[in-house]
């Protein structure tokens, strides 16, 4: 087990290192100098130079990369060119929108997908199975931002149950906050639920064909008992992996949905910073998202190995 964890840890660190180089390189090729962007076309040369040195842009690329990575290691994500506030503060504010949204969507998608998948697998080939599978085919094909617009049309404009966009803030109370995240969360959750339901169904079907399921029936359990006591637990392993991937996707994938609903989350922060050429913010936020994805995958792998001894022995 220790060997496995160590091996995964090394690959985690390598991944993060390569990711940081790639992100830095993409930002490096960005045209436009942030300092001249901020000061406008009429800026004097000496003011430009002063601002460049203040922003830390006057040193070599290597030095800048090391400064950036070194800063992040101690929790310093740099200072926004545009607002002159620490990026970590801006991220912390936005995280209070993006993270609850991702968790909310994940909870919704799990609550829909797991029962739907079990239902379909238990009725394999029947009308119920075909209906659920048809619905998931549709769910995978729907672009979530379009679905979001339809939700706004029906539930905000016609029925007036929710507001069409914006976020009231958590100061208004938990309920008000959750309410303004409901439509975005549903829009994010349904396509994810479609994928998850398919994984749940096929994982359960795989397990149902295993020898131990026949043994469970042979020792006198009904099909239903065998499914709940032995089938489900084993089928949850692949579901867990997908769940981890989806969570990571939801944090980053909210980026377009946040645009639709004008939510002040990380996604909007990235968009706003790109258009303001506030590249240090873009760089650090994207790195944070990649870090979150890699970290979640790492934790899922560890859980996986913990649950299934065969995996950790193999490597």
């Amino acid at each position: 087990m220790l060997r496995y964890v160590l091996k995964r840890l090394i690959s985690l660190i390598l991944s993060l290192a390569v990711a940081s180089v790639v992100i830095f390189a993409i930002i490096e090729v960005a045209p436009g100098d942030p300092a001249s962007f901020m000061l406008g076309v009429n800026a004097r040369e000496d003011t430009l130079l002063a601002l460049r040195s203040e922003l830390g842009l006057d040193v070599s690329k290597w030095q800048r990369y090391l400064d950036w990575v070194g800063g992040m290691l101690v929790g310093d994500f740099g200072t926004s060119y545009q607002y002159r506030t620490p990026v970590s503060e801006m991220v912390a504010d936005r995280l209070w929108v993006s993270l609850p949204l991702a968790l909310y969507a994940l909870a919704l998608s799990t609550a829909i997908a797991i029962p739907a998948g079990i239902f379909a697998a238990a009725r394999r080939g029947g009308a119920g199975d075909i209906t659920v599978m048809g619905a998931t085919q549709l769910g995978v094909a729907i672009p979530n931002f379009w679905f979001a617009m339809m939700l706004v049309l029906v539930f905000a404009i016609n029925l007036r149950w929710f507001s069409a966009g914006g976020f009231v803030g958590w100061d208004e109370g938990l309920f008000a906050g959750l309410k303004s995240l409901t439509l975005p969360a549903v829009a994010l959750a349904l396509p994810q639920a479609a994928i998850l339901a398919r994984v749940m169904r096929s994982a359960l079907l795989d397990v149902l064909g295993e020898d131990f399921m026949r043994t469970a029936r042979a020792k006198g359990l009904t099909a239903r008992q065998a499914l709940w006591r032995h089938g489900l637990r084993n089928a949850l392993i692949p579901v867990l992996t997908i769940l981890g991937l989806q969570f990571a996707f939801l944090i980053a994938g909210g980026i377009i949905i946040e645009q639709v609903f004008y939510l002040p989350g990380l996604g909007r922060l990235i968009f706003q910073s790109i258009s303001a050429r506030d590249l240090i913010v873009v760089e650090s936020v994207v790195m944070l998202l990649v870090f979150a994805v890699i970290m979640v995958n790492f934790l899922v792998d560890l859980t996986y190995a913990f649950v299934d001894p065969r995996l950790r022995l193999r490597t």
Partner: protein, 271 residues
């Protein structure tokens, strides 16, 4: 031939035909403005209605199909041309450091939130169809590399590969002459699925204004235009949305159907 395969093939061919037809004929010129005739609901003249400039939505959708298909197709092409050789190479040198480097590199690309990076790439390099293709295409490379490697490994164990080795063929010739034809089915299935994902990704990118730029019509930007008018003219959002859904649904059904068709014993649903 399953019903899913037939339905999927019909939907896909319909979209292809509509795109092809748009080169020679559309009901109206998709660029001509007709302000007095704006925001018309679907009717006998404008079958799918008109947008806020009075442009015919059906014509725009037909021409927009070309953008979607072109972007998704080239992105899949990038994935196949770069990913498949990498996967075959890794399979031919299974267990070596090369295999390890290729597969770890793939894992790394998988770990990137593709949408965020695609947005970053298009935002930095500039919005446009070509950069959208690059941004989507990069993430197709590890997909095809992984599928090619996974499919090639069992083929390498077969007797006819041993025979080819005895005949003096090297790894490269075996990969091209014997492995590739044997895994082509799987690559076609994966290609169909990536094609549908590419259409969704293109729609998302052009929705946020980073895909094909005006005057090139694109489904995603039609949705972006529709957003502020959704209460006034819901058909402006409905028509492109339904078009995207039917296209993606058709391609997914086609992919699933082809998979079953190529391998009847493997009737497991795609996840």
């Amino acid at each position: 031939m399953t019903r899913a395969l037939i339905l999927g093939a019909c939907l896909s061919i319909l979209v292809l035909l509509a795109a092809a037809l748009s080169f020679v004929w559309t009901p109206f010129d998709h660029t001509s403005l007709d302000i007095p005739n704006k925001l018309q609901s679907p009717n006998l003249t404008n079958w799918l209605g008109t947008d806020h400039f009075g442009r015919d939505i059906l014509s725009m959708l037909m021409v927009g199909a070309r953008t979607s298909i072109a972007v998704a197709l080239v992105a899949v092409g990038i994935g196949i041309v770069l990913g498949v050789p990498l996967g075959l190479w890794a399979a031919a040198r299974k267990g070596s450091w090369l295999d390890e480097v290729i597969m770890r590199g793939n894992d790394l690309i998988f770990a990137f939130p593709s949408l965020v990076i695609a947005i970053l790439i298009t935002a930095i390099l500039g919005a446009g169809a070509v950069n959208a293709i690059i941004a989507i295409g990069i993430f197709n490379i590890p997909v095809f590399a992984r599928v090619a490697r996974g499919a090639a490994l069992p083929v390498w164990e077969r007797e006819f590969i041993l025979a080819a080795r005895v005949a003096g063929k090297n790894g490269l010739r075996i990969s091209v002459e014997h492995i590739l034809p044997n895994i082509a089915n799987l690559l076609i299935v994966q290609g169909t699925i990536q094609f549908s994902l590419g259409i969704l990704a293109e729609a998302g990118l052009s929705y946020v204004g980073l895909g094909a730029q005006p005057p090139i019509p694109s489904w995603g930007r039609m949705l972006a235009d529709a957003q502020t008018l959704v209460a006034l003219a819901p058909h402006m959002a409905l028509m492109p949305g339904i078009t995207i859904i039917l296209t993606v649904l058709g391609l997914n059904l086609l992919g699933d159907g082809l998979r079953d068709y190529f391998d009847p014993k493997l009737r497991v649903s795609r996840v």
